[in-house]
């Protein structure tokens, strides 16, 4: 649980000097393989990527030219990139609130049950473990414009059919629906953990204070106590949605006509399809910068969460 992680961060910083009689060389030996990998697969590549973003390097060409902020200037003037950025944010704005609210709704409803809690948790968590690529193909068929079961259902109800991934209007929302489906159960479990931490006597106290309806108690007792968990779930969902890639790569390929171009997919094409490494690196820097902002918010939230408890 995230709660474990956060709490132990702030717990007593009293490193006992266990290794007093041992040479710290042992510690270096133990840490060495990880340090080596950390440098080789994380630190050095990130620095190289930042340097690369100031060049015009193309994979396969021998020349490499320093062009300063040229790539960045070009990016923000580029309609495709701006559209990808906009689509990504629009996608996050659909996925994060919906998956958080649905997760909360499920957790609260299940928590109030006297029977069948395990059964429902199992059902709603199942999509979390399913391979996204496989389920993306199922959804593609499910929402297919002519033969998809979803449209056959609409038709049988006398409604006009919807070509979700065929038109520009609904494609992004269709992808968002898949992500909400696969994320709600995850959020549900996080909320469920938060709910079990709400002390029972608080409800009794609230009832004595005259809060008769369940809904009143939910608003005045449960929700405030779930505040920190909620913040945490919002940030994690935002990060997950922001990294959308698989469904785009499998279902829409960024189409129709750019309607589902998102940041990671555009960057992938720029770097590994067109091999324009320089500008792909600049896109990655933008992506990483946004991720760092989220991470900073997350760290702040985690801090608050610890004090709250």
């Amino acid at each position: 649980m995230p709660a474990d992680l956060t709490q132990s961060v702030s717990i007593s910083r009293a490193p006992r000097r266990l290794g007093a009689i041992l040479s710290p060389r042992i510690a270096y030996g133990l840490a060495a393989p990880s340090v080596l990998l950390l440098v080789l697969t994380v630190m050095a590549p990130i620095m190289m990527m930042i340097l690369l973003s100031f060049t015009s390097y193309k994979f396969g060409e021998t020349g490499i030219e320093w062009i300063g902020i040229g790539n960045y200037a070009q990016l923000f003037g580029d309609r495709t990139f701006r559209r990808a950025l906009w689509n990504t944010f629009a996608y996050v704005l659909m996925v994060a609130p919906a998956s958080v609210l649905l997760g909360l709704f499920l957790a609260v409803l299940i928590d109030g049950l006297s029977k069948g809690q395990r059964f429902y948790r199992l059902i709603f968590f199942l999509p979390v473990t399913a391979t996204v690529v496989a389920m993306a193909m199922v959804w593609k068929y499910l929402l297919h414009g002519t033969i998809g079961p979803f449209n056959l259902l609409l038709q049988s109800l006398g409604l006009p059919s919807l070509d979700v991934f065929g038109g520009r209007d609904l494609a992004l929302a269709g992808l968002a629906a898949i992500n909400i489906w696969s994320l709600a159960g995850f959020n549900m479990v996080l909320f469920a953990a938060g709910l079990t931490a709400v002390p029972e006597d608080l409800y009794e106290a609230a009832a004595m204070d005259g809060m008769d309806s369940k809904f009143d108690r939910f608003l005045n007792v449960t929700l405030p106590l779930l505040g920190p968990v909620t913040m945490f779930v919002i940030v994690t969902s935002t990060i997950t949605a922001f990294k959308v890639f698989d469904t785009v790569a499998v279902i829409t390929h960024g189409g129709p006509r750019g309607a589902t171009d998102v940041l990671l997919y555009t960057t992938y094409l720029e770097g590994f399809s067109y091999f324009r490494m320089g500008s792909a690196a600049a896109m990655t820097v933008v992506f990483l910068a946004i991720m760092m902002v989220f991470a900073w918010i997350q760290a702040r939230v985690l801090d608050r969460k610890v004090h709250y408890r």
Binding site: M1, P2, L38, T41, M48, F59, Y141, F232, F245, D246
Partner: protein
């Protein structure tokens, strides 16, 4: 919160809502399985039927295994996610032990770097890693598919937290018995922290079994494709009408994790959600 509200109408209403949502949530799985056992002609009739008119049995499953190398993808999935997990455990556990139980110069810096790296997704170092692997001629190998994940800062972070709560007295006693630090770590400390190791293993295997991005960057040949990559590749190359075979293959490649989840629900839920940080 077990407030007394048995047999209230509220309970029944909750069940009605939840059952309806459960139906919606399960519907894609149902469609996947039913499509894999019905004849293609049925897909083009203008109404959805719940059960197949002509049951094709395991025909598409056999086709997926025989014509499309579904078994190869499964094997690659096992090799790659298994290989990643083993190296992750072998490197992260000693590092976490050092961070948790030793004082040495640079420890705080190392831990700060670990915390920073927690927020860095694979896409950030991807371009230089690709160039580096290309330079040493390693593109399109198992090694290329695994190497960016050999270091799991999440594992270091998690195991450090776990090891810190491990009693120092036991470690001291083992030292007095003359055991080497390496032996203490693997035969005393790690066996005492198995729940963490299990939870991390589930998280790691799930993440890498399902990953599409990195295999898409470095894998070219069919023989080395992981389940998601193989599936995506064949979805594109198939004429598109062969939904039966595609759904059969989707079922085969999703099955291992789903079965694992059904068998060990609690561990799975714990393993996957404990990593909300990632």
């Amino acid at each position: 919160m077990n407030r007394p509200h048995r047999f209230r109408p509220g309970q029944i209403l909750s069940h009605v809502i939840l059952l309806f949502l459960a139906f919606l949530f399960m519907f894609p799985f149902y469609v996947m399985i039913v499509t894999s056992v019905r004849s293609p002609a049925e897909l083009f009739v203008p109404e959805f039927r719940w059960l197949p008119e002509s049951f094709t049995g395991l025909r598409y499953y056999i086709q997926a295994v025989a014509d499309i190398p579904a078994l190869t993808f499964l094997k690659n999935g096992v090799l790659i996610s298994g290989g990643i997990l083993i190296v992750q455990l072998l490197t992260a556990i000693p590092c976490a032990y050092a961070l948790a139980k030793f004082e040495f110069r640079g420890r705080d810096l190392l831990f700060a770097l670990v915390l920073f790296s927690l927020t860095v997704p694979i896409q950030a170092p991807a371009l230089p890693l690709f160039l580096g692997l290309n330079a040493i001629g390693a593109i399109d190998t198992y090694f290329a598919a695994m190497v960016p994940f050999f270091l799991s800062v999440f594992a270091i972070f998690l195991f450090r937290q776990t090891f810190r709560t491990y009693p120092d007295e036991i470690i001291q006693a083992a030292r007095l018995d003359g055991m080497s630090e390496w032996a203490i770590l693997w035969t005393v400390v790690v066996p005492g922290c198995l729940p963490s190791v299990a939870a991390f293993s589930i998280f790691s295997v799930t993440a890498h079994w399902n990953d599409l991005y990195w295999p898409m960057v470095v894998i070219r040949s069919n023989d080395l494709m992981t389940p998601p990559l193989g599936l995506a590749f064949f979805a594109d190359s198939e004429s598109g009408a062969n939904y039966g075979a595609l759904m059969a293959m989707a079922t085969i490649l999703t099955a291992p994790l789903m079965i694992g989840f059904l068998l060990a629900q609690r561990h799975f839920i714990r393993g996957i959600t404990m990593t909300g940080v990632k």
